[in-house]
Amino acid sequence: MRHVAIIGTGQTDYASNRSDASQPELVREAAKAAIADAGLRPQQIDAVLISNMELFEGRALPELWLGEAAFAAGKPCLKVATGGTSGTSACISGFHQVASGLFDVVLVVGLEKHSEGQTQTGMALTDPFWDRAVAAGALGNFALSISQYMAERGVTERQAAMVAVKARRNAARNPHAHLKMPALTVDEVLASRPLAHPIRLLDMCPQSDGACAIVIAAEKPARRLCPRPAWVKASATRHEQPYIGDIDRRLVTMRTLRDAARGVYERAGIRDPLHDFDVAEIYEPVSYAELAWYEALGFCREGEAGRLIEDGVTAMDGELPVNPSGGVLSSNPVGASGVIRVAEAALQIHGRGGERQVEGVRTALVTGYGVYAWADVVVLGAQP
């Protein structure tokens, strides 16, 4: 397989309502920044991939309208849309396209502008016969799965609140983040409005407007253009049963994430993830999910995720900083959220993380999460 690397990233600022910019303007802002970051000009991009969930804005085939903003007019351009994993899956598609030799430089742009649509209506458009009446939207689904996870693994509301605090405090060091809350406390999270037991307002990700882009390059241009390319070591995608009732103990087992991680770790030579990774950008749509992912990703043994957050192991100064960017809990333009995870992990390897830079990052983990337990896993490294 040809070596492939991420050589540039670009992000807009994320906010609940970017009324100052249209959808194409957000796309252009991120695309332009990523191309400039890669030291390229737009005409040097061979192909473009767009990641977006069209019904969140009430659109069809939005790349037809947004393509030009991503410098795609006259170029190959496709849209990848797989729910929450759209962004990571679009990046993985870009890795495959460059690795195939068809293209040398691919731009991936993720966009969501939730303020121009009704996201929860979009999320309610599941199977009309079996799922729509009982499993619509993110909250109810997560509430059920989380209750089960808490009961089996002994995770507490306080431990989940600590995840929420870590995310928003980290976000305070990320100039792009939506929810920057440097002084947030666990008690404030626990006192926030209940949404669906046990989820409280501050346990949940926001809906953000924004776009994020990365430039993926083959080995030759990557070495020429980037002093410290973020090489793609391995990636994997796993999808799940389409009906919520068919997934046994979703957050507890999370077999998609486990299986994807197992394969990717093997190919990337990761034996002890907690020690071997220097940073992780994982897709945590809700505080409790981050704890469940710790177990599925092998950061700790089953039932020990609560201890990991209590001991500060995943804090900025811990053994494995998780989501220095503030994660999905701090910024969540859905179509872009997966691209943000990849961009933030690449940024850490590039050494351009600014105030959120972790010292000496050589190996980084990325995950995507979407729909009913669909999972993407990517490992990036400072060496191919």
């Binding site: 397989m1 040809r2 249209s22 040097q44 969930m53 069209e54 019904l55 969140f56 009430g58 659109r59 069809a60 085939l61 939005p62 790349e63 037809l64 309208w65 393509g67 030009e68 795609a72 007019a73 006259g74 170029k75 190959p76 351009c77 496709l78 849209k79 990848v80 849309a81 797989t82 729910g83 899956s89 993985i92 598609s93 890795f95 495959h96 396209q97 690795a99 195939s100 030799g101 068809l102 040398d104 430089v105 979009g122 309610a124 458009l125 599941t126 199977d127 009309p128 016969f129 241009p221 995608t237 796993r238 999808h239 799940e240 049963q241 389409p242 077999r255 998609t256 729909v371 009913y372």
Partner: protein
Amino acid sequence: MSELKAPNGDRRPIFIVGVGEVGPVAEDPRSIPEMVLEAVGMALADAAMGHGEIDAVVTASVDLFDGLTASNIAVTEVVGAVMKSETRIAADGLAAAIHAACELRSEAYQTVLVAAHGKASMSDYRSLTRWAMDPIHLQPLDVDFLICAGLQASAMAGADGGAQRRWAQLAARRRASAVPGALAAAISAEAVLASPVLAAPLHEGMCAPLGDGAAAVVLSVRPPAAGRRSVRLVGMGHDLEAHAMGDRDLTRWEGLGRALRRARADAGIASEEAIIDLAEPSCLYPHEEELFRQACAIGDETAISPGGGLFAGTAPVVAGLARLIAAVRGLRGNARYHQALAHGTWGPAGQGQAVALLEAAD
């Protein structure tokens, strides 16, 4: 970073080892997964494979057309993607097949299943296409894909007084070569011209009827079992044009020209005049076939849509993948054909374009 580069001599060959198509029919009473299940079953049977031999899946569907968010959820089980890699390309099915070929060439997988579905009967498809138009400048004008096709046909017809009659004859000829029972019945050129005008200058009889369909293709780096002519995908290219009609020369499909140049470069075909024995274009209207012939410099030595192409009827999203299937069947069934071209398009007036070049390996 060059747009066109020499093909990599040692890259993996890609064989199209299984194909399956359901429909198109005006209205299939079955659900999306039921239709896709049948198409996938046919493709796997054709490839003499089971789901266990499929490493990954690429699907094509469009959320708004299905009325489902992440509408690939509807087909995850029937394409066998539970605990597998699946990528959903929201465009014409041929673009999904091209992405699957990229996955194979990247050496990530050995065998990939591609599936597409579209059910125009579930909705007012024409109205839904308005939601794919620029919402600031075009959607408020109620511009849809059919109106864009009419604008393109108008631009081409110009002062060409014979255009409408020529198009009526072409549509009648294509419909006459469709298999019995096709979605579009045979019709005379006179009847085409007498049919209602849908988007001037396009009459109803010129427009390919849209219905329900599903298609599936198995691509593999391993050749198919002996005993059948094997078909290779040797070149691929795609393109996205500017969106607004006013930003394009509507009398040409320049995007298709670029997609074909990329596909030829990918296949290592230097000559612009390379002979294509069989072309299966995705043309919903006769003026589009003229655009296709011009963009691809296709002359009379090439057989175009021997089975009537999309004029026999088609389904949104499925169309291009169904053309790939028609091209594969053409190569398998006719020893005179060696090179074939499958074409897919999506968006208003051919904004998105995809080309696959196929070769029969004898």
